[in-house]
């Protein structure tokens, strides 16, 4: 089985103009970087711009990446974060995201409307996350959705693990408060699915 070429070697080769090496690097990290940018910004178009510029900056200034300080993946997340912040600044907005801090309306939906309920749940989860303060939001996205460790999230955000832990705690508290009605209906939905599965069996 051939050994996997390291990110560092690929970057070095790509910076010398090797397109195949660059595309291999891009292929390794395009999805997580795009996903992160999308969840941070809430727009596919802007997330694609950020992803594009993130990878382009990598070959324009490869010397900015220091392997001894962080993995390339962490470095790319940090670059995407900075580009997202730049986008917010250019737009003249503090957060750039819709403020959705109101308590969601209680809307118990059941049975045949399951798909609708799934979509509604996804929308409310998205809105609840966008309602979080930006620093809590990015910590939550990196930790919960991208699976980064506390220290990795801290590296991306340029702070220490303790601060990230506190941000995560507050983010979860905020989400619990806002999403409580949906947590209950989600549990009902899941128990309904179990009944259906048992009946089918």
């Amino acid at each position: 089985m051939p050994e996997r070429i390291t990110d560092e070697l690929l970057l070095q080769t790509a910076a010398d103009g090797d397109q195949a090496a660059f595309l291999e690097l891009y292929d390794r990290y395009r999805e997580p970087i795009f996903r992160f940018a999308y969840r941070l910004l809430g727009s596919v178009e802007i997330a694609e711009d950020v992803t594009h510029d993130c990878f382009l900056s990598l070959i324009r200034k490869p010397e900015n990446y220091r392997p001894e300080r962080a993995s390339l993946k962490t470095y790319l997340y940090a670059a995407a974060r900075n580009l997202a912040l730049k986008h917010f600044r250019d737009q003249g907005r503090e957060t750039g995201l819709e403020e959705v801090t109101e308590e969601p309306r209680d809307s118990p939906r059941r049975g045949p409307l399951r798909r609708l309920l799934d979509e509604e749940l996804a929308t409310h989860v998205k809105e609840a996350i966008f309602g979080l303060p930006p620093l809590q939001r990015e910590a939550l996205i990196l930790f919960e959705y991208e699976g980064l460790s506390l220290s990795e999230v801290a590296q991306v955000a340029g702070t220490d693990a303790g601060a990230i832990k506190a941000r995560l705690y507050r983010a979860r508290q905020g989400l619990r408060r806002v999403l409580r009605p949906y947590l209950e209906s989600n549990q009902e939905l899941n128990s309904g699915r179990e009944i259906v599965t048992l009946r089918e069996a």
Binding site: E48, D53, L56, L83, Y145, A166, Q173, N186
Partner: protein
């Protein structure tokens, strides 16, 4: 950091399960193609420009104009006939070797003759007019 009584009923796993409901889309093939093109441009040495939106380098476009032989005015390339008198417009080829004639293009703006280099443009227009007269 204490937990409020009502939050005790919501475990981390339950919250995680709810968060998983929000699924992010994947990057499009358009982005893949864009990345590929940008990389090629970076190393082609042709112009060193990219399609970057957030990074400082922006692509410049060469303005292509048309000229009305009756009212002697220039109009944007999108016009085939003079909006003033209806005369068919002649294309003025942009002299690409002169970098002073490139501007950041705003499609909503029609560049007036005063903003151009008259000597070069008049020469181009004269050649165009001679050709048109020859062809009848």
């Amino acid at each position: 950091m204490g937990t409020e009584p009502e939050e005790e009923f919501v475990s981390d796993n339950e919250l995680k399960s709810l968060l998983e409901r929000w699924v992010a889309p994947g990057p499009s093939r358009v982005l893949d193609k864009r990345i590929e093109t940008s990389f090629a441009r970076e190393f082609s040495g042709a112009d060193g420009l990219s399609q970057s939106v957030l990074l400082p380098h922006r692509r410049e476009e060469v303005v292509s104009m048309k000229f009305c032989s009756v009212c002697k005015e220039e109009f944007a390339d999108k016009f085939s006939f003079c909006p003033v008198d209806g005369t068919p417009l002649a294309l003025i080829s942009p002299p690409v070797e002169d970098p002073s004639l490139t501007v950041d293009r705003d499609p909503s703006v029609t560049v007036s003759r005063d903003n151009q280099a008259p000597a070069i443009q008049n020469a181009a227009f004269n050649e165009e007019r001679v050709e048109r007269e020859r062809s009848g």
